[in-house]
Symmetry: C2
Subunit: 484 residues, 2 copies
């Protein structure tokens, strides 16, 4: 962590422990080795270890508990959170995505930027070697499939593996009804095309995933934003009101770790949503891409698990947890399965069979659950560090979300602070942040920011995050910034 040539001994020990917290070896709340044990391990005096632990306490990575020892710090609770649900306008509107969102959240960014635009774990949080071995095995074993058109719905073995996997999402699915896709957005696009016609109204969370707005625009659909609570997600009362007054054909929703809020819908609400869909006959397009990143098992249970009428279309992929480079996702489209199959058939005609079989191998390996646990602990460490930096360096009055997992934070800056200007100021210093406006259809959330800790997490990133806070503080002090 230090840039000195030879940091003091206690700092070296502290740095190693900090690394174990960051890479998920030591998880939140876990007990650390005793002072005596650690001193023996490192062959140093016990006072040196005590110094190291105090350094970690100062960095808020460790807490001391009297007569118990030292522990990895639990979730920090000191930051104020956003409390009220959003209040979008009540009419559906054409989507017109602006260039800003595409520039910020598109996948081709200059390499010299320090980017907070991504919530996807980078290669250093995943396990390329494990994936490589599985792919190599599949290529050897199924080489003949390289020269044949694949089934457009997916290899049977892959669909069976996905059905087994879906048990962890609370679902009992028939492999016959699972369709393998090239990712979660592919799944969602297929669902939308299956249940809507151009001009139809689609409801979605507010704020929402930028790509959801893009896909609605590209399919000539109208967006109806629904008030969403920063902790409990989509307001079903507001949705009910919308259903009573608007011809809603489908709802796009991320019940677990919504993007950008990080909200998780309570289980009772999930059940109610499935019932509402059945009663009103609209399609729930459920995005479960972050479910494996949720810290508690019960949050992983899907709306689909409560679906008895086939109105919930479950979309998922392994791009956030295993290997984005495989380009594989899946969908169980309920009563619209045939329609989705038909559209998929002529859109791309199936994924690479060998990659599907590698995926089937990977998600049924016994080590997979442990890999997910480690990934969650790594993500939690990044979240905690980022929240500490925000608490220390952002202007007073800043509110920040407290998501139970994932790699995204949602910040509400003090009223009057213009996040688009802050974005521009940051860009001049080669720092990329996403202003809240890009997560809605009409310029709301102008004092909000999304901070993603996916692409990389280095001391430079922490420094950059502190710098964003300093720039925000300075802008608040400048009247022309407030006037915007």
């Amino acid at each position: 962590m230090s840039n000195d040539e030879a940091p003091p001994l206690y700092q070296q020990i502290a740095g190693q422990l900090a690394e174990l917290v960051r890479n998920g070896t030591l998880a939140r709340g876990e007990k650390l080795p005793s002072v005596r044990e650690l001193a023996r391990q490192h062959g140093v005096a016990q006072t040196t270890v005590v110094q190291a632990y105090h350094w970690l306490e100062d960095a808020r990575l460790v807490v001391a508990r009297p007569r118990s020892g030292f522990f990895v710090a639990p979730r920090p609770v000191s930051l104020p959170e956003p409390t009220a649900a959003s209040r979008p306008q009540r009419r559906p509107c054409e989507v017109s995505v602006d260039w800003l969102g595409q520039r910020i959240l598109g996948r081709s960014q200059p390499p010299d930027l320090i980017s907070f635009s991504s919530g996807t774990p980078g290669p250093e949080m995943l396990n390329p070697d494990r994936v490589r071995r599985a792919v190599t095995r599949a290529v050897q074993r199924y080489r003949h499939l390289l020269c044949a058109y694949p089934s457009s719905t997916g290899q049977e073995e892959a669909r069976r593996a996905l059905a087994r996997y879906a048990v962890g999402l609370g679902c009992t699915l028939d492999p016959e009804n699972i369709i393998v896709t090239s990712g979660c957005m592919d799944s969602i696009g297929l669902c939308l095309r299956a249940v809507t016609q151009p001009g139809d109204v689609v409801a979605l969370e507010s704020p929402t995933h930028f790509s959801f707005l893009e896909v609605l625009q590209s399919l000539h659909l109208r967006a109806l934003e629904i008030p969403t609570h920063p902790r409990h997600g989509l307001s079903l009362d507001a949705l009910q009101l919308a259903l009573d007054t608007q011809p809603v054909k489908a709802l796009m929703v991320v019940p677990t770790l919504s993007n950008p809020l990080g909200a998780c819908m309570p289980q009772a609400e999930r059940r109610r949503l499935a019932q509402m869909a059945a009663r009103h006959g609209f399609a729930v397009i459920e995005d479960a891409i972050y479910n494996d990143l949720a810290e508690h098992d019960e949050m992983r249970r899907t709306v689909k698990s409560y679906d008895t009428t086939g109105h919930v279309m479950l979309c998922d992929s392994f791009s956030k947890t295993l290997a984005p480079g495989l380009r594989l996702g899946w969908v169980e489209a309920g009563r619209w399965t045939e329609a989705v199959r038909g559209i998929k058939d002529l859109q791309s005609g199936g994924q690479s069979a060998v990659l599907e079989l590698a995926l089937a191998d990977l998600i049924t390996q016994t080590g997979h659950a442990a890999a997910m646990r480690q990934l969650r602990a790594q993500a939690a460490a990044r979240l905690d560090e980022a929240r500490h930096a925000i608490a220390a360096h952002f202007p007073p009055g800043t509110r920040v979300s407290d998501p139970p997992g994932g790699l995204l934070l949602w910040l509400e800056l003090p009223r009057g602070l213009d996040a688009v200007r802050l974005h521009e100021a940051c860009l001049k210093e080669r720092i990329l942040i996403a202003p809240g406006t890009v997560f809605s259809t009409s310029g709301r959330f102008r004092n909000c920011l999304r901070i993603g800790m996916g692409s990389d997490w280095t001391p430079q990133h922490l420094a950059a995050l502190r710098r964003v806070g300093d720039l925000a503080t300075r802008m608040l002090e400048l009247p022309q910034a407030r006037a915007a």
Copy 2:
């Protein structure tokens, strides 16, 4: 070839030679070994070899030339071809694809069918081991790419390889403007979405590729079928008339080995088409998927090669020539490159980088051109055998296309013969053929058939093809079939 326990010696030798013709080792018109040479090789009497050659002559695989020896038979010329261009209706219409086409041409068929539904070379005509080695190398070398989101436009190395490859299509392309996709239909769908809005009119050949009709339907576009000549392809005079009277936004066209006709547009017409597109401002969506299967190099040159204004969108893939299981294609979208990129970005976000890099390796290997030559020779042998069987077993008056390559034949049966009924009669005997009606929007081509020799080519297939001819002949003799 024979089902006897021990066929006579001359038949064994003839069978081996027939196999060399079928697998492309001996190409059309190539000289066969002399009688003396072959007798020495096999350790048999020269009269046995002469017997074998006569057997092959009877099977029309070989011709004798006085004082020159025996040669692989050239293209058979004895069959009458369709001569007139199609005459579709002149108004654009909504596309309503019927269940029949989806059942026949969809990718999931019962395994016990003898199918003539595919024009794609099967694994036995391609080289799975060559592909496997390339994929394994790429996975080893680029393992880190397995756990990262790929560039949605494709790996730079792949785009460079594709630009080099496109030189063979007569094109000088900038790798920057090439977008890798998951296949040719993916490319075409992206192009359509980039240049049209729901309700727009898209022109296309008549008869046309079934999937073209499906994709127009799924995108809520109207189809305008343009008269098409069985040998020279799309009529540009008819297209001009359509442009003068209809708001045509795009043209979908397969200038080389059109599907199902197998027509090839003359080069002068290709140049004229590029000029028409520039003058009228519509997009030419050119499907070049069969260009590598054309027997003569000059037929491989694309309409795109004459495009000076960016109105031609070139769509291509390697699914018909190298490895359908890689699921890779590409598009150069001319002036609509940015729009295609945007839609692609949110549809699936890029293909597997390791597979793209394997493709780049494969298409730049020195052996690739030779593999293409062999593939063309294999396809030519199948075409010839099928045409012989049709000449001998289909009702008099049957006309059959004479495509310069590929694996598809288009048959015009005598007037009054109902190909949909023939299809049904064949299906009862577990033989699958595609009636002409599925290649148009409104029931035309009812006396036509498409025969595809891609999926497999065995003595059972030849027998089944003869059986189709017998069934057709019998139906012609039954008055209720003629009345249909």
